[in-house]
Amino acid sequence: MTMVETAVAPDMPGSAIPDAPVAVEVRDLHKSFGQLDVIKGVSMTAREGDVVSIIGSSGSGKSTFLRCINLLEIPTSGRVSVGGEEIRMKRDRHGQPVPADWRQVERIRTSLGMVFQSFNLWSHLTVLQNLIEVPVHVLKTPRAEAIERAEALLARVGLADKRHVYPAFLSGGQQQRAAIARALAIQPKVMLFDEPTSALDPELVGEVLKVIRDLADERRTMILVTHEMKFAREVSDQVIFLHKGLVEEEGHPGEMFRNPRSERLRQFLASTQ
């Protein structure tokens, strides 16, 4: 980490390996809901191996930005590329932007492992079934292979003994660890986290952060929306501070947290102490 700090100019967004291939690229993204402009021109580059944290107060557009990357929200304008492939857009007959090819979107989505604030495990499937659902039915992985990989992942997140349990019978922390394992099971290029610990009781936050930290340590590409400032500071290569749909400040966490340049970030950090 110290090597990285010296390698990156203080006012430039950080990157773990500066010339690694670009994993996710967002250019001049705008998103409005009707009259409400939520994202007003945001760009981001995440290189392979990067952990990019997105911070900002509630309502600043963090979730919307993240959801535009896998087209859960359709951007009003701007460009999104994953693994060098740009998501092609067109306009429908009302002039609204829509994906030119939903198949392309579906294919790209299988390389983005999304983890939701409220877990969103499938309630009619056991933990193991949740993990093999997408590999078997979308990615066409042979079932035996999918099960083998799923069991290894469950062991890794400490849920080996829960594989035949339905999600409703797990604690929040266990559900979120299962949801992270479900995301890993598709062998994604990039992991997307939307406040993965915000719905958890405080005593369950640690077990989930530990799993995410392990992923950061093994240099997985991750884009992480979080309220856990200490955690963001420790694991991120790059931090983006969103304010009212714009990047107010971005850079290497060490720099940003030590001496924020904008008054807003200063206030925000003070309020989260």
């Binding site: 989505r109 999304m114 939701f116 309630s123 499937l125 997408v134 979308v138 409703a168 019978f169």
Partner: protein, 237 residues
């Protein structure tokens, strides 16, 4: 007592065989109509939830009419108007009129009625699924069809089973209405047996017991199915 057993004997001159054949016909229609209704219901629910303006308007009209008009009237309309319409169409294309089999007509007519109620049950159940689960399916690259088949339909089942169970019980009883169009189901067979022997009380009690038996078996089976599909839900709520 001997006389009663003789009247209910399976072989003629006993009428038991006729009653059982009527029961089998009733169950055949009920099964057919129920599954036709279920298919219509799933399609109708999807149309109401995700269809365009026109689709929604047509489906609203369909479910409103079926629920507003008494079933007997509706079945008479569908049965006679339906067969007339088909023969009219055949005539238009220069074909001979056909005699539509009572079984097919019965299933079609009751199925259309069942479909309207199924549409509402399935739609309500789908709306009860936590939205995040469907969103997760989208986020993981499932196509709309895969989402429906693998996530939405199985996840809505626990919420739909009570309503769908009632619809099955309705389907078994609604078959009796087909007696008015001369279909030889249980009620019509019973009427014939009772009319020929003048033992009205005996035969209607016998038929009533058969219907009760169907309901009891159905209730048991529905209970088992419900327990099975609710495995993933917490015990309360």
């Amino acid at each position: 007592m001997d006389e009663i057993l003789a009247l209910l004997a399976l072989e003629p001159p006993g009428w038991g065989g006729n009653l059982l054949r009527g029961l089998v016909s009733s169950l055949e229609i009920a099964f057919g109509a129920y599954f036709l209704g279920l298919v219509i219901g799933i399609g109708g629910a999807c149309g109401k939830l995700w269809g365009g303006e026109t689709t929604k308007a047509v489906l609203d009209l369909y479910t409103t009419i079926v629920r507003a008009v008494p079933e007997l009237v509706l079945i008479l309309i569908l049965y006679f108007a339906g067969t007339d319409l088909i023969n009219l169409i055949l005539d238009y294309f220069g074909r001979e009129p056909i005699d539509i089999s009572g079984l097919v007509a019965g299933i079609a007519v009751l199925g259309v009625v069942q479909g309207a109620y199924s549409t509402e049950v399935v739609r309500g159940a789908i709306q009860t699924i936590p939205a995040g689960q469907i969103e997760a399916a989208r986020a993981y690259g499932m196509s709309p069809w895969l989402r429906l088949r693998r996530i939405i339909l199985p996840a809505m089942l626990p919420f739909a089973i009570p309503g769908l169970g009632n619809l099955w019980l309705n389907a078994t009883k609604d078959t009796a209405i087909l007696a008015v169009v001369g279909f030889a189901e249980l009620t019509l067979e019973t009427r014939q047996a009772a009319g020929s022997t003048k033992r009205y009380f005996l035969f209607y009690i016998a038929a009533g017991l058969l219907y009760l038996m169907v309901t009891l078996v159905s209730t048991y089976v529905i209970g088992r199915i419900e327990a099975r599909v609710r495995r993933g839900l917490p015990r309360h709520g």
